[in-house]
């Protein structure tokens, strides 16, 4: 396939840039167009709204944050949350990164021999599932009352 002119221009300016095939370029154009149109589609209602919204005077309390009719007490950012959320996030992080490695394995699974493929998947998943067993034994999945009420 002959190299189109503007690709050559890119390659000359940025040395060693990977040559982009035409279909890959089209992929990116589609994604970018959808991103832009998605943003416009989300933003246009706000512009329309700006023209037709009611203009009214606000009371002192109109722009308080909603708290069941009481006066707002403090910032929500000062509150603390159960450490359990953090532990769940930690297991997730370990898992998600590992599952990412499984995707290429799945895509190339037909190319390896039967014994090698099965054994390697078993080893990988076996180690991975130990993470759940570990968290389970350590009691991440039991939500105990951390503060004892007498």
């Amino acid at each position: 396939m002959p190299q189109p002119a503007f690709f050559l221009l890119w390659n000359d300016r940025i040395y060693g840039m990977v040559e982009m095939t035409e279909s890959a370029l089209l992929d990116y154009m589609y994604i970018f167009l959808f991103l832009v149109v998605g943003f416009i589609g989300g933003f246009t209602p706000f512009i329309l709204n700006w023209f037709v919204r009611p203009k009214r005077t606000h009371l002192k309390t109109t722009r308080n944050t909603y708290e069941c009719g009481m006066e707002t007490y403090g910032d929500a950012w000062d509150y603390r949350y159960g450490v359990t959320y953090y532990l769940y996030a930690l297991i997730f992080l370990a898992f998600d990164v590992d599952i990412l490695f499984l995707f290429p394995v799945a895509a190339a699974f037909e190319k390896v021999s039967a014994a090698r493929g099965i054994i390697e998947v078993f080893i990988f998943l076996g180690i991975l599932i130990l993470a759940i067993v570990y968290a389970w034994v350590k009691g991440v999945f039991t939500w105990e009352r951390k503060i004892k009420v007498r």
Binding site: G38, G42, Y88, I99, L102, F109
Partner: protein, 327 residues
């Protein structure tokens, strides 16, 4: 010079695709809103919306106009940037998965070779939008809702990925078109019933729908992460949620229910879209029925259900698949 002569028809195709898809997105949100209210009504033995148009069919249009005319109230102590960005962040990425979904053999905007991963990654942006909305609102309800939403979405993302992996192990491709093509003879729901079940359960949870709608549990958190949003801000979250439901259902259709395959129609490569939409809306109907039938679960039950049952089961499912594929 070859490219430049090819590009203009491709550009026109691009524009047509994006216009069709974004109008379909709004249409789908309107239809789903109407369907949900109507089904909810009939489940609870009342007629649902009846006043505007035949059997209330124009109710959602009227509601849309009403929401468009509402004042955008921004509370005084919010993080203004994050508060304004959050609805856009929730709405913008939901259009992208529709780019790769094959509605029928020839009706697909673009067949990316990494389509499945593309959908998963764009779906994950939604989690960040919820967190940004909850954090930016500086409201205790929003904050709790956002924390729950993040914990729940990340917990149920792993069963979803694993059940997708089971399918990818069988057909060795991420391109959605080729995955559907591989189901010419037999749908993967027959070969992978466990993965299908896990995917549907985790998909309902991933879209924050009842019985897993803890992030916006009305009785305890008012409206969860979008408590402070009014008018258009709220409706963008709403449209985003319905589009996410559509995406989850159509990915389930593509992976397990054979996409556009069905009894032969004339012009099959275009009219396969009929079978596709029938399957998708059947799944969506199922999701709505689940919402109005089952009570809400408790939050620790929800997270532990994902980690103690769904993840181990999908692991075992993958191991069995890996062995059976090689036999």
């Amino acid at each position: 010079m070859e490219t430049i002569s090819i590009l203009p028809p491709e550009l026109i195709r691009m524009l047509i695709a994006v216009i069709i898809i974004i109008s379909f997105l709004f249409l789908n949100a309107i239809m789903m809103g109407y369907l949900e209210r109507k089904i909810a009504g009939h489940v609870q033995r009342r007629p649902g919306p009846m006043e505007v148009g035949f059997h209330g069919i124009l109710q959602m249009v009227v509601d849309g106009v009403k929401l468009l005319g509402k004042e955008l109230l921004i509370p005084f102590n919010v993080d203004r940037t994050l508060f304004r960005v959050a609805p856009l962040l929730s709405f913008t990425p939901v259009i992208l998965p529709l780019l790769v979904i094959p509605f029928s053999e020839k009706l697909q905007a673009r067949d990316l070779s990494l389509g499945l991963i593309f959908i998963v990654s764009m779906g994950s942006v939604n989690v960040m939008a919820l967190l940004v909305a909850g954090w930016g609102s500086n409201n205790k309800y929003s904050m709790f809702g956002a924390m729950r939403a993040v914990a729940q979405s990340i917990a149920f993302e792993i069963p979803i990925l694993l059940s997708m992996l089971a399918v990818v192990l069988m057909c060795n491709t991420f391109s959605l078109k080729e995955i559907v093509g591989a189901q010419q003879k037999i749908w993967f729901v027959v070969l992978q019933p466990v993965a299908f079940l896990i995917y549907v359960i985790a998909g309902v949870a991933e879209t924050n729908r009842a019985p897993f709608d803890l992030p916006e549990a009305e009785s305890e958190l008012t409206a969860g992460f979008h408590t402070e949003y009014s008018g258009m801000g709220f409706s963008l979250f709403f449209i985003g949620e319905y589009t996410n439901m559509f995406i989850v259902a159509s990915v389930a259709t593509v992976l397990f229910l054979g996409g556009w395959h069905g009894p032969n129609l004339p012009y099959g490569e275009y009219l396969g879209v009929v079978w596709f939409f029938l399957k998708v809306y059947f799944l969506l109907f199922l999701m709505i029925m689940i919402r109005w039938t089952y009570p809400r679960v408790r939050f620790d039950q929800l997270l532990n259900f994902a980690w103690k049952y769904l993840v181990p089961f999908s692991f075992v499912n993958i191991l069995i698949t890996a062995v059976l594929v090689k036999l």
